[in-house]
């Protein structure tokens, strides 16, 4: 295959960036879930009667 370096290089870079994006979203989600759990453990719960309070921060 001619120019194999450029072709595999571009696929590798794409894979790397996509993996970085997925990793960011995934790790961020896990960190948030952990923080929610911490808050839950500290006895701070959402008042479920007011579903808006999450977004009105």
């Amino acid at each position: 295959m001619s120019h194999a370096f450029y072709i595999y290089g571009s696929y590798a870079v794409t894979g790397l960036i996509v993996l970085a994006l997925i990793g960011w979203v995934w790790l961020d989600g896990r960190a948030r879930a952990r923080e929610l759990q911490q808050l839950d453990a500290a006895g701070i719960r959402r008042r479920s009667a007011q579903p808006k309070d999450g977004a009105s921060a």
């Binding site: 001619s2 794409t14 929610l36």
Partner: protein
């Protein structure tokens, strides 16, 4: 915004963050699976297809370069629509959507820039030229980074969302410039060959892998966008609960 309201519409149903989270939880596994399938299919098609007689095997770079470039513009369009949502309806989910899309847009734009550069080196003999198409995509990349930095620099997320919404809408002029730069200016970059008046000029041999990859990238974007929006909603919920916790702590001790 309670569910016994009769005037409830599909849109405002989605607009409730809690509902939105439930919806994301339902959709996300399917969307991820579909994305993975489409990506595998696209890669298989891309590597079994014939090479171009003129560009050789480097045409395979196109299967990721072109979808990434499309996505970089689509992501900005999604952000612009969200920005209108923020400014006109003052909708919190629109804020979240615009903020969550910015890093994804930066990622796809970076893919387009780097793969384009890796394609340009064997074809044009240089990594980079300052022609209209490449420059405007680079400006798009800088705009994404600037929006991320702006969002991070401000404490109040609602205010940050409104300020960046204005900036997003102003920056939207760049999108048509990117799209038509190859037609308006005589550049090294080849003109559009798929989305154009009078049907695609591209050979069917290349069209199929390209389309499958484009679908895969689009699915990937939406999966990541939904997940990032979920994270952002959770982040704001956590912030709200923390403020409440601080108030509760002093209420308890203040007696």
């Amino acid at each position: 915004m309670s569910d016994n309201s009769l005037a409830i519409t599909k849109f405002s149903d989605l607009a409730n963050p809690t509902r939105f989270l439930a919806l994301v939880a339902r959709i996300l596994p399917w969307l991820s699976g579909l994305t993975a399938l489409a990506l595998v299919a696209g890669l298989c098609l891309g590597f079994t297809a014939e090479g171009d007689y003129q560009q050789g095997d480097t045409v395979r770079i196109m299967y990721i370069h072109v979808p990434a470039a499309w996505l970089s513009m689509m992501c900005y369009t999604v952000m612009a629509i969200s920005a209108i949502g923020t400014l006109v309806w003052r909708h919190p989910l629109a804020d979240v959507s615009a903020k969550a899309a910015a890093p994804l847009g930066a990622g796809f734009t970076l893919i387009a820039l780097i793969t384009g550069s890796l394609w340009g080196k064997p074809m044009w003999g240089t990594w980079w030229v300052w022609d209209a198409r490449l420059t405007s995509v680079f400006v798009l990349f800088l705009m994404y980074l600037g929006l991320i930095a702006l969002n991070r620099a401000m404490d109040d997320p609602a205010k940050a969302a409104r300020v960046s919404a204005v900036l997003i809408l102003v920056g939207f002029v760049n999108i048509p410039i990117i799209k038509f730069s190859v037609d308006w200016w005589n550049t090294l970059h080849q003109p559009a060959s798929v989305v154009r008046m009078g049907g695609p000029t591209i050979d069917a041999e290349f069209l199929w892998p390209l389309l499958v990859m484009a679908v895969a990238f689009t699915l990937l974007f939406f999966a990541l966008h939904l997940a990032a929006m979920r994270n952002e909603i959770l982040r704001r919920r956590i912030a709200a609960q923390r403020r409440m916790a601080a108030r509760m702590a002093s209420g308890r001790e203040g007696r």
